[in-house]
């Protein structure tokens, strides 16, 4: 399989200005991420709030300036591409947000919202009803305004709007988090069908591990701006290796029995702990985890990468 989207050593550092209350400092929102999304693949990006998953998505789409590292899309390096050169590529990479109510202009009808990207790129507007049908909305919805639609219907409009430009890559940032569970299942069904029919690739950001396991064939787990584990979703979410992935999975309330409770909370990204960023919360941390630099993400099995000093030692098996 060829890579549709690839990141190498990608980093984003935000400088915070000095204020009356605080000295100037910097926050490494994303620190040295290597990532590969194959053509037609679905990669899940999971982690808790503040882990940098949304920033990473924005970086990959070149929506925020890159601090360090390279991004390539369709085999072409887009890291330093000028905005004008980037624009034709934007058609093929589309973003879907968490909150469809905020993503739609309340004064535009559904038809006007979906037509907007077509008009901007000078494309044929006659396909509107077809697009709506593809996302499971009846044609009479074309003349409705967002306030007349339910949350699920609004998200379908956003998906239609993204599909209008015939993208190859969809970046979905918590696309079902604002939806009720019965509607979430409908939207996930739609996304699975679209991917199969159109051969789309998904970068799927979510804090919901069960949703990611449904949608994605690969998953990357982020903690404090770094990927700590990456591999096939059945393996990473079925038999996690990194202590953080284990803690995350154990914390998910199950319909069955209760899980194990991880201690502590995610640290402040502006003052990350030394050594492995997870060590203050890790039940297995040793001396070498507490000092030096963060452990590198390395391949521990075919197609399986983990950033932990202890994996490969007594943790495997």
């Amino acid at each position: 399989m060829t890579a549709l989207l690839q990141a190498t050593g990608l980093a984003k550092t935000y400088a915070t200005r000095r204020t009356a209350f605080r000295a100037a400092s910097s926050v490494a929102a994303v620190a040295g991420v290597d990532l590969l999304l194959p053509e037609g693949g679905a990669l899940g990006l999971v982690g808790e709030s503040g882990c940098g998953k949304s920033t990473l998505a924005r970086l990959l789409l070149r929506l925020v300036p890159v601090s360090d590292g390279r991004i390539s899309f369709e085999g072409r390096d887009i890291t330093d591409l000028a905005e004008s050169a980037l624009r034709p590529l934007r058609r093929r990479m589309q973003l879907i947000h968490q909150n469809p109510s905020a993503a739609l202009d309340p004064r535009l009808t559904v038809a006007a919202s979906v037509a907007e990207p077509l008009r901007i790129h000078g494309l044929d507007l006659s396909r509107l009803p077809e697009l709506l049908a593809e996302v499971g909305l009846p044609a009479e919805m074309l003349h409705r305004h967002p306030h007349e639609l339910s949350g699920g219907q609004k998200q379908r409009v956003c998906i239609a709007r993204a599909l209008a430009l015939e993208p190859r890559l969809l970046v979905l940032d918590e696309p079902t988090s604002a939806l009720d569970v019965s509607v979430q299942a409908q939207v996930l069904e739609l996304l699975a069908g679209l991917r199969a029919r159109r051969g789309l690739s998904y970068l799927f950001i979510s804090h919901n591990l069960a949703v990611v396991r449904q949608v994605c064939d690969r998953v990357a787990v982020m903690y404090l701006g770094r990927i700590v584990e990456e591999g096939a979703s059945a393996e990473v979410l079925g038999a996690p290796l990194h202590p953080y992935t284990r803690a995350l999975l154990a914390s998910v309330p199950r319909l069955g029995a209760g899980g194990v409770v991880a201690r502590g909370e995610p640290p402040n990204p502006a003052a990350p702990p030394p050594g492995c960023p997870f060590h203050p919360r890790c039940p297995m941390a040793e001396e070498r985890c507490r000092a030096g630099t963060a452990p590198l993400l390395r391949e521990v099995a075919r197609g399986r990468r983990v950033a932990c000093h202890l994996v490969g030692g007594h943790l495997v098996g």
Partner: protein, 328 residues
């Protein structure tokens, strides 16, 4: 076991310029003293409005009680005078909410806010109001009892210096200030990360066990409810559709909506099962469907479902279902 809270035929309407919305349509449920009850349902089903009814927190207007009773320890909460309700709030029934940040005053220290809560409870009890110093000592011990390390340092901090999980623990500590009997928790972990959510749920379970609290937990997340509650009430569009012990409900739901809700939740441990959505969307409560409010989305609906509202009936011992077609 004796009933601590009995809700009978409770109807609440919200009046607006567009008409009157029947937000709660004849709620019937009982919470035994010392038990844990979860209320689950999707947005707009009325679960938060029901929780707020217990403390008289629904602003009126627009809220208007159309009928029914909410009896707590034998007294009807709906007819209590404001002073009597104030005496109850926090001392008998305490509540915690979804977004801890918005329930703390950003410009006051945790110490000041906790002292105020403790002294407020003293005043409501009608006895002597303790001095700030004594209130602070009590605050210190309350913070310790909710698992917060270094209470002295915490008391000197301001809300913005705390994480979301710590803020929720502070609010739980404040809720304990009046030594309540019933704790109403409305989506207490929804704003928290999953690892922190697990910690707060463990804390709530510990408080229920050690203090003999009765818990009413409201959540949209069946997993959260299943982790914390022995019994579950499923609500849909302002009605109770099923009321059953947790395990029985999850393994063998009887109401079509409860079945649909459970089938829609993706199961991390069984990814081979594709979650199924429920067709359609929740109805407008300004003009709710006739008969069973779920009938337009139900694949088992018949003419009777559109004509006649199903009563919540005991189908199996300890299990109530509101469906014409449900069978044990």
């Amino acid at each position: 076991m004796t009933a601590l809270l009995e809700i009978e035929e409770y109807r609440l309407a919200f009046d607006s310029f567009d008409g009157s919305a029947a937000v709660l349509d004849g709620i019937d449920l009982t919470i035994e003293a010392g038990s844990t009850l979860g209320i689950v349902g999707e947005s707009g089903c009325g679960k938060s409005v029901l929780a707020r009814s217990l403390l008289g927190l629904n602003p009126s207007p627009p809220a208007r009680v159309a009928s029914g009773q909410i009896r707590f320890e034998g007294r009807d909460l709906l007819t209590l005078r404001p002073a009597a309700m104030r005496a109850l709030r926090g001392r008998r029934i305490a509540m915690i909410f979804q977004d801890p940040a918005s329930y703390l005053n950003p410009v006051l220290s945790i110490a000041t806010q906790m002292e105020d809560a403790i002294r407020g409870q003293d005043a409501a009890a009608g006895g002597a109001v303790r001095a700030r110093r004594a209130a602070r000592a009590h605050a210190h011990s309350l913070l310790g009892s909710v698992g917060l390390p270094d209470p002295a340092r915490l008391l000197a901090s301001y809300p913005h210096q705390l994480s979301g999980g710590m803020r929720q623990r502070v609010l739980i500590a404040m809720a304990l200030a009046g030594d309540p009997t019933l704790l109403v928790a409305d989506e207490p972990t929804t704003a928290l990360d999953v690892t922190v959510q697990a910690q707060v749920l463990a804390l709530i379970a510990e408080l229920v066990r050690d203090r003999g609290l009765t818990l009413m937990l409201i959540s949209h997340d069946l997993g959260v409810i299943a982790a914390a509650c022995a019994r579950i009430v499923v609500m849909y569009a302002g009605t109770v559709v099923e009321d059953a012990p947790t395990r029985a409900l999850l393994e063998h739901p009887l109401h079509p909506y409860a079945q649909g809700l459970i089938a829609a939740v993706p199961d991390l441990d069984r990814p081979e099962i594709t979650p199924r959505g429920i067709p359609g969307s929740i109805p407008s409560l300004l003009s709710p469907p006739s008969g069973c409010r779920f009938h337009p989305r139900c694949d088992r609906a018949t003419a009777r479902c559109a004509a006649e509202k199903p009563l919540l009936r005991e189908l199996l011992p300890g299990r109530r279902v509101a469906c014409h077609h449900a069978t044990p």
